[in-house]
Amino acid sequence: MKTSAWKTMYWLVKREFWEHRGGFFWAPIITGGVFLLLNIMGIIAAEVIGAQHGINFGASGGLRHVIAEMDTGDLSKVGFALDMAMYSAMGLLIVVLGFVVFFYCLSALYDDRRDRSILFWKSLPISDTSTVLSKIISATMLAPIVAVVTGIIVGMLQLLILAVTLSFHGVNVWQLLVLAHPFRVMANLIGYIPLYVLWALPSVGWLLLCSAWARNKPFLWAVALPVATGLLVSWFGIMGLFDLPTIWFWKNIVQRGLFSVFPGTGSVFGHQGDIAVTGNQGMDFMDLGNTYQLLASANLWIGVAVGLGLLAGAIWFRRWRDDS
């Protein structure tokens, strides 16, 4: 029986999923559940308060008239608002995903050295490169895919809850729902993942390197090293030598190295302000045509190159560090 490289990789990633089911699977599910619960509670609270004050905006048919009288421009705004409702579910999940990926990378090549199970993993015919690669795939693809799928399902449920609530007020929901673009939203979210992989690479590389190298407390090393360097740089004004402000170091080294695992930071900090978020009427800010303009920034590609270098270092340390 020959085991192919693809099959080995599949099982390595599956292994990561088994070990980190809590972070990769349950964290987004629970976050999504909490998000929906909060929404439902908010709606109930609004209904109760509305009833107490005798406000019932559906009964007079006012809202229905508003919808009936909307022109195409207004309708596209409604569609945009509904799309935003779908994205909003994703917002919370993205923050959670960022934390999950950050701490996953820090522990990925450290925990098994600490509990000595590295001696078991290393007794199998798997190269250290494959091992590290499987951890990169788990961090930058598996975790985001689970989060996005959860986000889409939660977003759909969110729309449904809104629709059902409105239908209690005599508003025809399906007429509104067709204004939303759930498939475009899905495509945008899924399509963002490859960009995330590229953008997160320097962070993932740095965290995995610390994880593979530190003999103890990888978190402390990963955070303290860049921050301490940043403080020294600020203190002595070293950046002045390169004609750059001190803030440059904090922004491009410290922040980029540590926080690029948080999805969306690329779109927020990535460009130097010359690519405005297109304010086109009802234009989707998550539109791939918009987000992928990041590919044109040097920041992204320098990050990719640095990230690959850091990952090569992580592989080297993984090869020679043992349980001692």
Binding site: W18, F120, S123, P125, I126
Partner: protein, 285 residues
């Protein structure tokens, strides 16, 4: 048949100490080699060098591979159990079997399941819920189902009760070992392996101080029990070691004339533990 392991001039220096000091040896296929030494003698370092887990200077050839450069390939033919507690604590029995079955080309799943059926382990059990003995049963079931050429055991029975220890070596001999396989084992429980070893290596302060097969050990080392009247004669023959039991002296000789010793008293083959103690005298002094 060519040697499974050929080492020459193996040296490994840690910051403060020399763990392996210009060590050379050969291990032939079909042998069970006991690598025995006091704590800190360099046993684990030697095994780690063989497994490509540590860097070193010198030449080392394991199954035709250089463990420093071809570790990935080498591990297809080598298995190891590094003491009892190295299986990841979060993993379940069925998960670890699935995983190894899918990444190891020489793993025989049916065999592994047959071994597991003889234990009390259940598929959904996690390693963290198991006793040390059960973890070893699981690890052994995995390893015995792999058709490897070389099996390395580093203190495999440390901390196990006697039932598990006996069972461990019994399974290894009955269901695993054959003339195409080689086993290297390090242990402090010398009495338990003494009857299964074919070769013996003593290591002390990074040096191999004894490297012989068991027959040669029996020929070379002789223990003789001598009454008080002949003790001085025995001492004159320069014994390796002397100890007192019930008013008689027991002398251990290395390469002495057997006929001469037989006139002094009753001779016998020394146990490995006595031989070990005699050889390692003064290690911790």
């Amino acid at each position: 048949m060519s040697a499974v392991i050929t080492a020459s001039g193996l040296t490994k220096r840690y910051k403060s100490a020399l763990a392996l000091d210009n060590v050379s040896f050969q291990i032939a296929p079909g042998r069970i080699v006991g690598l025995i030494g006091p704590n800190g003698a360099g046993k684990t370092t030697a095994l780690k060098a063989i497994l490509g887990l540590t860097d070193f200077t010198g030449d080392l050839n394991v199954l035709g591979f250089d463990p420093r450069k071809q570790r990935g390939k080498l591990m297809g033919d080598v298995c190891f159990i590094a003491d009892v507690a190295v299986l990841p604590r979060w993993i379940r029995v069925h998960e670890v079997v699935d995983f190894v079955a899918n990444v190891h080309p020489r793993f025989d799943r049916a065999k592994c399941e047959a071994f597991l059926a003889r234990t009390k382990l259940t598929p959904n059990q996690r390693v963290r819920q198991m006793s040390k003995g059960m973890i070893v049963q699981l690890h052994l079931a995995l390893v015995m189902a792999i058709d490897a050429k070389l099996l390395i055991l580093d203190e495999p029975t440390l901390g196990l009760d006697i039932l598990y220890r006996k069972q461990f070596y019994q399974h290894l001999l009955e269901d695993y070992f054959d003339e195409n396989k080689t086993i290297i084992v390090t242990t402090h429980q010398v009495e338990e392996v003494e009857h299964i070893l074919t070769d013996l290596m003593f290591i002390r302060d990074g040096k191999i101080v004894l490297d012989a097969d068991m027959d040669a050990v029996g020929d070379r080392f002789i223990e003789v029990m001598v009454g008080a009247d002949k003790a001085d004669t025995a001492r004159a023959l320069k014994p390796l070691d002397e100890r007192q039991v019930f008013g008689k002296s027991i002398f251990l000789f290395d390469g002495a004339n057997r006929a001469a010793l037989e006139q002094l008293g009753e001779t016998r083959r020394p146990s490995i533990s006595d031989l070990f103690v005699a050889t390692m005298k003064g290690t911790y002094a």
